[in-house]
């Protein structure tokens, strides 16, 4: 099954590797992964969609929560969450089809972000099924090229991450000169 995971993590070198390493070590294939800074530039939000055996879901979240760079890992697969994806679609169209394409795009709420004699570049957002449909429709009009962002998700339940407070170090006795 596909599991949707949302991670809040420190924006540090190697943090991404630690997360993906947990997945690759178990032979899981990542369907999509997006990561970007949050309002706090020291933190990143990552959304991962991964193919996984259902009984391994909880274990994977626990393993992710163990990572020191991860502040919070949440399983959003069945949780209330908004899920969106963005796709950029370049479609080559004949002159006579140009208006038809724009009409179709409008139906999907897609908008042209570039226009040339050969065709359009269109931007569409929505849930993955809608993107799939849009791509299928555009494909019917001619040659297309597609770049999808992968799923981004936001939980609709406010779950504050439990952060560990600083630990005072015992004043060690310096032994070196």
């Amino acid at each position: 099954m596909l599991q949707l995971i949302s991670l809040l993590m420190e924006n540090k070198p190697g943090a991404l590797m630690r997360v993906t390493g947990l997945l690759t070590a178990r032979g899981y294939n990542i369907e999509s992964l997006t990561v970007a800074r949050t309002l706090d530039p020291e933190l990143s939000r990552m959304s991962i969609v991964v193919e996984i055996e259902p009984h391994q879901r909880a274990q994977l979240i626990k393993q992710m929560n163990k990572l020191i760079n991860v502040l919070q890992a949440m399983d959003l697969t069945e949780a209330p969450a908004v899920q969106r994806e963005l796709a950029l679609v370049r479609v080559r169209v004949s002159r006579e089809n140009r208006t038809v394409i724009l009409k179709e795009a409008e139906i999907f709420g897609a908008r042209p972000v570039d226009s040339s004699l050969e065709g359009f570049a269109l931007e569409v957002t929505g849930d993955p099924e809608k993107i799939d449909e849009f791509i299928a429709v555009m494909g019917a009009y001619g040659e297309i090229e597609v770049t999808r962002s992968g799923l981004v998700a936001v939980s609709l339940e406010a779950k504050k991450p439990r952060l560990s407070p600083p630990v005072m170090k015992e004043e060690g006795v310096a032994q070196s000169a």
Binding site: N65, K66, I68, S164, V173, S176, A177
Partner: protein, 571 residues
Amino acid sequence: MLNGAQIVLECLGREKVECIFGYPGGVTLPLYDAMYDSPIRHVLVRHEQNACFAAEGWARATGRVGVCCATSGPGATNLVTGLVDAMMDSIPIVAITGQVSTRLIGSDAFQEADTFGITRSCTKHNFLVKTLADLPRAIHEAFHIAATGRPGPVLVDIPKDVFQAQGRYAPVSSIHLPGYKVFTEGHAGQIRRAAQMIWEARRPLVYAGGGIISADASEELRALVEQVDAPAVCTLMALGALSGSHPNFVSMPGMHGSYAANMGMSESDLLIALGTRFDDRVTGKLSGFAPHAKVIHVDIDPAEIGKNRAADLPIVGDVKRVLRKLNQALVDSAELKPLNETARAAWRERVAGWKREHPLEPEFSSSEIKPQHLVHEIDRISAGEAIVASDVGQHQMWAAQLIRFNRPRLWINSGGLGSMGFGLPAAIGAQMARPDALVFALVGDGGFQMSIPELATIANERLPVKIIVMNNGHLGMVRQWQTLFYHNRLSQVTLDGFPDPEKLAGAYGFRGRTVETPGELRRVLRECVEEPGPYLLNVRVTPFENVYPMVPAGAAITEMVLASPQPVEVA
């Protein structure tokens, strides 16, 4: 002003590091130059893998963080086996590795390896320190992470130019790792419920793991066992957590566990699992494991709860603190104790009966030294007080079955990873930590030959390690499986050409000899132990002995093979 290398040593000093096991190289030159003036002792091993194993030996013998050090590239890659070993057994070590200068990273420079990437999966956490400003914090955080929570190995990779950069040491007064979640206390309500479950149980069994030793919770474990008067099994990692001579102790469970331990697990109605992870070598076929038991599972690592076996009552916390509270909760609910006391008394008698029916006993022969005879003699001479650092294989299993340990941190072995070549360097680390203790390196002839270079370290450091080679001329455990499961087609398991131990030890300047007659064994072992320095004792044992009981891989632990099957008659 200090340079980065001096700051590293300043940090290690503040972490109260007494001893580093390491091997120098190109990019660690500045560090070794600074060490020249440092009071911290450095033990020069002969291979970096053994630096890591020795640091583990130190950590396992003391409970404190062991430290090893290696140069970039091959030095760092040679640490990997030891890091995984420490990861699997939750041993706190800090590895310091040199890296090529920051401007060269990624250029395939001489002795460059992606240590940070390579060790990601074999450490609890790792650091690549790219500026001097980050250095002290990284090292102090490394020690904090290694020692707290579920302990484990942490690696700090330091480029040469960071070692050389000049700066000041600014003391680090606090560690702030917001994402490092350590749960220590245990849920009070769950602990109360655990006490109730224990009193309601008719056939409770304490299943203690290595976490008891990590958490220094032996006293609390003993108190629990005595208060409930329940039989207790200790896993391979927990031998000594409860004294081997304690009346409630039921030896090790699992693949080569005792009949009583495995039957106890299988017939129990309540497993009190403490700091243990339901390893496949303990449980056998999971679906057949402890089928009648409810499970109370105490562990500091939430990911262990329910990983292999669902817990009816999970408690996430430090097992020492949880046990203190649980013992109090048992006192507070003592009015429930008589409820099932009769049933529990019958249960104790059943377990004792299993112990009597199928005891773990040494075997003797008048013509050859049985391997069990050898470990029995080691047990006799150490009387539960010696450190035994074991290698991996048959000798490890016989030792685990037959040598008693009165206290924790005496039995030192590679449990999870099963790394051959572990025993001798681990003994070096343990002897460095406890110079006055009697330390045996109990090794097979296979693992010993993986660690022969360290005889030089033993000689140089004048460590009185007693190296006992259980020599059956084979890779015994692999041979056993070939015999039992591969029609005795012995493929690449014969180890001919074992060196003359007298000459070998003599070449390093200490004594060695072979013993092969059973009548001589006790006297020669005494001579070995009484030798003031190191001693290499090569013991020729029965070449084709198998370890029993044995649970075949994939079988339930009740399906024990208790002794060698009779030879099959050829039709």
